[in-house]
């Protein structure tokens, strides 16, 4: 693999008839990183994943996964990747154990190794007790865990996770996120699509924001947030406010320099000047130092600014999917 690149995409384009689903996208995913693909429904996330895993053919452009060309070396690409599709596509009438065994055989894992891995994964995903049961009796969370286990059965280098926590309850989502973090620690490269902004922020080393088939930006969550200018604020909270401090705060509030919100004060403009003013009064009054912390713009704000899609719309989409 060249320069530690796990996935390389160049000018990838996909048309469905006249509909341009993916529009000349370019990106690289480094080995061992969690790369997030964040965007609203219909942005082109799933189409991109389908192309990379060999379930769709690009209209133009090319990509390599683990150093193999997706079109000319698709079998090698498939051997080196694990996929967690958007829906848990497993065989409902088979038990968890048989599902893992069957999928392992499709990846040419030898029976003794497969037995060992199946036991290990069932243990690891807390499924051994239910493993003889047909998976149609499983909850959505259990099926999701098993789908991730199935993606790992052949010990792939790279994982493609398409909305891995969509429709899961808080606890199941949390457990799955922990597993994903652990996989990264074990050195797996993870390509993750999501429209859960919080999830992207918590898990990803870098995030590509995609909308209407185009990648709008690629950066770390921190840098993406810092791209949203003018939204920084300083939050000041007092244990006890003397009349003089209150008077100074009221003056600043009335001029709109600071905002009072649930007993806290948010300095949103002229941050350093206003902070100095407050601290001067605090010092003069010999009052205890207030709690001061910087409020950075959220990834959500960065996302909204870049895509013009509100976080509420994204949440509705996610609820729609889980419902």
């Amino acid at each position: 693999m060249q320069n530690n690149v796990a996935i390389e995409v160049r000018n990838l384009t996909k048309y469905y008839g006249d509909l341009l689903a993916v529009d000349h996208i370019n990106f690289q995913v480094q080995l061992g990183e969690i790369f997030g693909f964040l965007g609203p429904n219909g942005a082109g996330k799933t189409t991109t994943i389908r192309i990379l895993i060999g379930l769709a053919i690009p209209s133009s452009g090319f990509a390599t996964v683990n150093g193999y060309h997706i079109l000319t070396q698709s079998q090698q690409v498939k051997q080196g990747i694990g996929v967690v599709p958007e829906e848990s596509i497993l065989y409902d009438d088979l038990s968890a154990r048989r599902n893992l065994y069957f999928i392992g055989r499709m990846y040419e894992v030898s029976p003794p190794l497969l037995k060992e891995r199946t036991n290990g994964l069932l243990e690891d995903f807390e499924l051994p007790r239910v493993s003889p049961r047909p998976i149609r009796t499983f909850s959505k969370g259990m099926k999701r865990k098993l789908t991730l286990a199935a993606a790992l059965i052949h010990d792939p280098e790279t994982l493609f996770l398409d909305e891995p926590t969509a429709g899961l309850d808080v606890m199941s989502s949390r457990t799955l996120r922990e597993k994903i973090k652990r996989l990264k620690r074990e050195g797996k490269t993870i390509f993750l699509t999501t429209h859960n902004i919080e999830e992207a922020e918590r898990l990803c080393d870098r995030i590509a924001i995609i909308n209407k088939g185009k990648i709008l930006t690629i950066d770390t969550p921190q840098r993406l947030k810092s791209k949203v200018k003018g939204k920084e604020a300083l939050e000041v909270q007092f244990d006890h406010i003397s009349p003089n401090i209150q008077e100074e705060l009221n003056k600043l509030c009335s001029s709109g320099e600071i905002i009072r919100k649930e007993g806290r004060y948010l300095i949103t403009s002229n941050i350093s000047q206003n902070t100095r003013k407050i601290l001067a009064v605090v010092e003069k009054e010999k009052a205890g130092l207030p709690d001061i912390r910087s409020i950075l713009p959220s990834l959500e704000e960065a996302f909204v600014k870049l895509t013009s899609v509100s976080a509420e719309e994204m949440k509705k989409e996610e609820e729609g999917k889980s419902g």
Binding site: I53, G54, L55, A56, I57, Q75, Q76, K78, Q79, V83, P85, E87, I89, L90, Y91, D92, D93, L94, F102, I103, R105, M106, Y107, E108
Partner: protein, 243 residues
């Protein structure tokens, strides 16, 4: 090659377990041919001797093709075919596994009804080896045909309708009820393009020694070619429609 064969075997075994050998499906697979056999037996023992070989071919035909069509359509809809294709698996391998599952079902339904025909109606078996080979080759050809019909529809009910729309006319045109040489000229020509025609003729040769379309060697070769053709065209089509 060995790796491919192993995958084909596991796909077949999975399909057999998850779809085919469930009591309702087995009953459905046996019901129609059994009803036909008993209906014809009402007309007398001489008539049933004429029809039984064709009915055996028809049993293999329905068994190997009908569920197969629905299972492939279902696999497109519930994306279980996609799940298979996420693995390093050629389309041909995937369909071969599916076809082997259909074959197994066709063979089992035939092997349940065949002893009935032999036992109850004293159907003679003049060439047992030819009969065995004919049943296996027919099952392959019909299962491939079932796959071909199943690759287009996305809904199982659509697949069922399309399957019946092609299967029933084929039964009437292939000499199951009326020998091909007694049919009107144009229908005779159509019959030559239908795999069931050759299967019926083979079954007649192997049992009552009355095959009359082609020598059994050619009939077997033609059935194999039909099977390969349907596998090839189904692979092309499913590749086009799935990705």
């Amino acid at each position: 090659m060995v790796k491919e064969l192993i995958k084909i075997y596991y796909i077949m075994a999975k399909d057999v377990k998850t779809y085919y050998f469930k009591p309702p499906n087995l009953i459905m697979g046996l019901m129609f041919p059994a009803v036909m056999i008993f209906t014809f037996s009402m007309r007398g023992i001489r008539d049933i001797m004429q029809f039984l070989p064709g009915l055996i071919a028809m049993t293999t035909f329905f068994g190997a093709s009908s569920m197969e069509t629905v299972i492939i359509a279902l696999g497109r809809r519930d994306k279980s075919l996609e799940r298979l294709l996420m693995a390093p698996l050629a389309f041909r391998t995937m369909l071969s596994g599916k076809i082997l599952g259909g074959m197994a079902f066709g063979l089992v339904t035939t092997l349940i009804l065949l002893p009935l025909g032999v036992g109850i109606f004293s159907l003679p078996i003049q060439k047992p080896l030819l009969l065995a080979v004919s049943i296996v080759v027919s099952a392959f050809s019909f299962s491939s045909f079932g796959a071909f019909i199943g690759v287009y529809p996305r809904e199982s009910w659509n697949a069922m309708s399309l399957g019946n729309l092609t299967r029933f006319p084929m039964v009437f045109l292939s000499g199951v009820f009326l020998p091909v040489h007694k049919m009107p000229f144009i229908l005779t020509k159509i019959a030559y393009f239908l795999p069931l025609t050759y299967s019926v003729d083979l079954m007649r040769s192997a049992t009552i020694n009355q095959g009359n379309i082609l020598s059994w060697h050619y009939s077997l070769i033609i059935l194999v070619l039909f099977g390969i053709f349907f596998l090839w065209i189904s692979t092309k089509l499913i590749k086009r429609w799935l990705i």
